[in-house]
């Protein structure tokens, strides 16, 4: 099975202290460390496991810039067979629809039986998978937490639904699935693995190779525009404790006890 996984490089929320910049229109990006968007990592692991079982190959692709090559290499070190960087000046400022348009053009250049995305980007809106499926006229399932390959170009998938319940579906290939974390246990990739794929060439595709007209993507084509970034002010009933750890613990105990939570 030929599988494409669309991945993305995001600021690592566990290793950064995210702050707004002084202009208030973005986060402070100096000294941030980036990593693979976590759900995407699960999607790649799932693709690798499917291929290990029934054969085929895994391609990882990302829309971004030179810096994003880092996550392609990391996923290639995990075992992805090919990495493709989709980069062009014209792409900058694209909204979700713009990114889906770019990916659609890329998908149509190849032959993929299955396209996976992470359930959402940590700095995104869980929109690409659905839009891409619609543009390609492929079936789509979101929040997928297990995949079983059936005979006759079909998959049996389960989806996480409200309350921890699961729903089982059959879906025709080719299709697009957005993968929920917890579907598997992604393998570890160390520096050594990344170093071993350091010299594998990664092709870069731009508007010309993909045959996209520049006015359908990028900032000018974006119909969703970011107007502000802000930290919501604490509402009524919210209290933020500013003491030392010990003081905060005492305070929390006191508060919980005051509300009758501790007896």
């Amino acid at each position: 099975m030929e599988i494409l996984v669309c991945i993305r490089r995001v600021p690592d929320t566990s290793e950064n202290e995210i702050e707004l910049n002084s202009a208030g229109n973005d986060i402070e990006r100096d000294a941030l460390v980036y990593s693979i968007n976590e759900p995407d990592n699960y999607a790649v692991e799932e693709a690798l496991q499917i291929v290990a079982k029934i054969g085929g190959s895994v391609t990882v692709a990302t829309v971004g810039g030179e810096d994003d090559e880092e996550v392609l290499r990391r996923e290639m070190a995990m075992g992805a067979n090919h990495g493709v960087l989709i980069a062009d000046e014209a792409f900058s400022g694209s909204d979700g629809r713009g990114i889906a348009t770019i990916l659609k053009a890329f998908v149509q250049k190849g032959h993929y039986d299955l396209i996976l995305t992470g359930v959402q980007a940590e700095d995104g809106g869980a929109q690409i998978g659905g839009m891409l499926a619609a543009m390609l006229d492929y079936p789509f399932a979101s929040l997928v937490n297990s995949i079983e390959v059936l005979e006759g170009q079909k998959l049996k998938i389960s989806r996480e639904i409200e309350g921890g319940n699961r729903e089982l579906n059959e879906i025709d290939l080719p299709c697009v699935l957005s993968i929920q974390t917890g579907i598997n246990e992604p393998r570890y990739v160390g520096m050594r693995g990344i170093r071993q794929v350091a010299t594998v060439p990664i092709p870069t595709l731009s508007t010309t190779e993909l045959g996209i007209s520049a006015n359908t993507v990028g900032e000018s084509a974006a119909k969703v525009q970011r107007v502000d970034y802000f930290v919501p002010s604490p509402g009524n009933g919210a209290e933020i404790l500013h003491g030392s750890r010990e003081e905060n613990i005492d305070k929390v105990l006191e508060l919980v006890a005051a509300k009758g939570g501790l007896k």
Binding site: D12, S14, E15, N16, R187, Y188, G193
Partner: protein
């Protein structure tokens, strides 16, 4: 002489038979040993041929001197007797074998008086070994020491095999004694000058029982005893390589080739430099043949005594790890895949077949097993090599992936930002008493205080950092820290098998240390200490803070107020990487004993038998399967010793013990304090540097403090 020859002639009819048994026995043994050597030839390289004199010295100490045996009093004493008996009987065994073919053979130098003396010694030796066998069988059957038990998950018990072997040795001793006794009895009957037999020895008793037996019967007995002796001897020789008694043959070699510098971890591959590592296709141990030949020799040499697992903290708290079975399972694997008879079998990956991932991650590398093993079997290198293999395959628990990733991108397992590394030193209150320099240019200070991640970032452990800094400034040390330029020492990164990441951290730190131009390094973290001392190269000499304090107590720069609470009883917990791995046992104790009025007790497991509190570094992130926490067990040991305060010298011990006190519900009854915190609390600050000059003031100081106490 003529009559002696007559006696010897009892054996003559069997000469051809005995000769045949010799040939078959020796041929079988040679064939079996050759087969056993096959996997060793397939194993990885291991450089163990250097420093022959040092190695011989260790053979004298650990093999001939049985150095580690008395650590287990009963079994050890028994073993020393058996071992000594075997050594004494070795010459006799060979001369007896020759007698079968050449009946008048006497070993050179052992005729006449010397022979008599040797004869008496062997009589007793045989008797002692025989008795030891009886005791050993009784221990196995009646007393059943817990450490010999084989938990169901590891297969069947080894008792039957052990007793079978013990009985064979007893039989060998008995046959040998009969052989001697029958000859002596015949001499008595014939009115010959009687061979001297040791009074009350086995041969002596048998001879006394046989004196009225007829000469032809004695002849048959003599022949029979010889026959049984020879058969038993060769059977044992050829049977030992199939089980636990192979150590009789291999122990000498195992100890000769044992690792000389235990602190230094095995490189990924012997003979491959760091820069060549990128060309190495596979890291660590994945299949049996990835073990080095010496590691395989370890498997053969294990005597199944169970001391390693008896001391292993992971085993004690029910983690799925027992060092004994790391060895036994590998030996069984080796015997099954490299059989003496039949074809070699193709192997599979070890993880998932004989070992489980959890088993290999369960080890804290505390070194208790290696400390105990009388045969110097190595474990830590094997565990680390197996982990290197798992890392290489991507088999890493999710709980460890995050901190490893953070170490890669941020240089610490918590994912904290580099610029916050020195925040512990900028607390306002602290800054008023002690200013800590950040060494961002050369020659900023004489001494580097290497803080390491946990002390830099953990709220609680920062107190250890501040206490250390205050002590260093109290003794007038010109010191500084690397601040944002300091990365994690990588100590656990390396021990968790992530060699490439470790090398990156190490190289970064070495560069930063060199740039700072310091002449020496001090740290309060034994893991950092061990890394800087043994894993890093080309860095200035490193000391643990307890060594600095002990020296300055001695020099008089540090003196203490008496302890305030006279009811507190202190005990010192040896961190594995300060104690067992670096033999720093006395300095922290000396410091404690220098504090006036401090009552100190020892836990039953202390010094080189210290019980690991749960492990440091990445082990804090790992979620082991266990019945209880090591720390809880340790805290209970402190309570048993009658202590109410545990003093330690390691921030990871602090985390584990502090948590354990809560888990064990012993808050209020037990506290834990780091040595630096204790010293910082007790040190007399107003007091002068040199006692001689201002002795009067010191006296005043002490008087004043004792007033406070009243």
């Amino acid at each position: 002489m003529q009559l002696a020859a007559q006696l010897a002639s009892f054996l003559v009819p069997g000469r051809a038979l005995f000769f045949l048994i010799h040939l078959i026995g020796i041929a079988c043994f040679s064939y079996i040993v050759a087969q056993r050597l096959v996997p060793l030839m397939r194993g990885e390289r291991d450089f163990r041929f250097d420093q022959p004199w040092v190695r011989l010295g260790r053979v004298l100490k650990y093999w001939l001197g049985q150095w580690k045996q008395p650590r287990y009093r009963a079994a050890g004493t028994l073993h020393i007797f058996i071992f000594a008996g075997f050594l004494v009987l070795a010459i006799r065994a060979f001369s007896v074998l020759i007698v079968g073919v050449s009946p008048n053979f006497v070993p050179p130098g052992l005729s006449g008086r010397a022979g008599d003396v040797y004869g008496v010694i062997t009589d007793y030796a045989a008797t002692i070994v025989f008795l030891c066998m009886l005791i050993a069988v009784i221990r196995r059957l009646v007393f059943k020491p817990a450490r010999y038990a084989v938990p169901a998950k590891y297969g069947k018990g080894h008792t039957a095999d052990a007793i079978f072997l013990l009985s064979l040795i007893a039989l060998l001793m008995l046959a040998d004694s009969f052989f001697t006794a029958a000859k002596a009895a015949a001499q008595v009957r014939q009115g010959q000058p009687v061979e001297v037999l040791a009074a009350l020895s086995l041969p002596w008793m048998i001879r006394n029982a046989l004196v009225s037996t007829s000469l032809p019967t004695l002849g048959r007995m003599y022949f029979g005893a010889y026959f049984v002796h020879e058969l038993t001897f060769y059977f044992l020789l050829c049977y030992r390589p199939f089980g636990i008694q192979f150590h009789v043959e291999t122990s000498l070699f195992n100890i000769y080739f044992a690792k000389l510098d235990r602190e230094i971890l095995k490189p990924v591959r012997w003979g491959i430099s760091d820069t060549q590592l990128d060309q190495v296709k596979s890291f660590g141990i994945k299949t049996f043949e990835d073990f080095t030949w010496k590691h395989m020799l370890d498997f053969y040499s294990c005597a199944d005594c169970g001391r390693c697992s008896d001391q292993c903290p992971a085993n004690a708290v029910g983690r799925p790890l027992s060092p004994r079975f790391i060895t036994i399972k590998a030996r069984d694997y080796s015997f099954a895949h490299y059989p003496v008879f039949g074809r070699e079998k193709k192997g599979t990956a070890l993880i998932g077949s004989i070992y489980s991932q959890d088993e290999i991650w369960s080890c804290t590398t505390c070194g208790a097993c290696e400390q105990e093993c009388p045969l110097l079997v190595e474990y830590i290198d094997k565990i680390v090599d197996l982990r290197r293999g798992m890392i290489d395959e991507g088999n890493v628990p999710q709980s460890l992936q995050k901190p490893l990733k953070a170490l890669e991108s941020r240089g610490n397992p918590y994912g904290k930002m580099e610029k916050k590394k020195a925040d512990w030193a900028s607390a306002t209150e602290f800054q008023q008493t002690c200013r800590v320099k950040t060494l961002d240019h050369p020659n900023g200070a004489e001494t580097l205080y290497f803080v390491d991640s946990i002390t830099s970032f953990d709220d609680r452990m920062q107190s250890i950092g501040r206490a250390t800094a205050k002590i260093l400034s109290h003794v007038g040390e010109n010191f500084g820290i690397l601040g944002a330029a300091e990365r994690d020492s990588g100590h656990e990164v390396r021990r968790f098998g992530e060699e490439t990441l470790f090398m990156a951290l190490r190289d970064h730190n070495v560069e930063a240390i060199k740039t700072s131009g310091v002449r020496r390094i001090v740290t309060a973290d034994p893991h950092a200490y061990n890394a800087l001392k043994h894993d890093y190269k080309d860095v200035p000499p490193v000391e643990h803070i307890s060594q600095v304090i002990a020296r300055e107590v001695e020099s008089g720069k540090i003196s203490f107020h008496p302890v305030e609470n006279k009811n507190d009883v202190y005990t010192y917990h040896d961190p594995c990487y300060l104690g067992r791995h670096n033999q720093i046992y006395d300095e922290p104790r000396d410091v404690l004993d220098a504090i006036p009025g401090l009552k100190r007790v020892e836990m039953s497991r202390c010094r080189d038998r210290s019980f690991c509190c749960g492990g440091g570094g990445l082990m804090l992130f790992y979620e082991p399967k266990e019945e209880q926490r090591m720390g809880v067990k340790r805290v209970r040991m402190a309570a048993e010793a009658g202590a109410s305060v545990i003093v330690t010298t390691c921030p990871f011990c602090m985390v584990n013990i502090e948590d354990a006190i809560k888990v064990a519900g012993m808050e209020g009854k037990m506290t834990v304090i780091d040595l630096t915190e204790l010293v910082d609390r007790q040190v007399i600050r107003e007091c002068p540097n040199a006692i001689e000059e201002r002795a009067g003031e010191i006296k005043e100081c002490v008087m004043a403090s004792s007033h406070i106490l009243k």
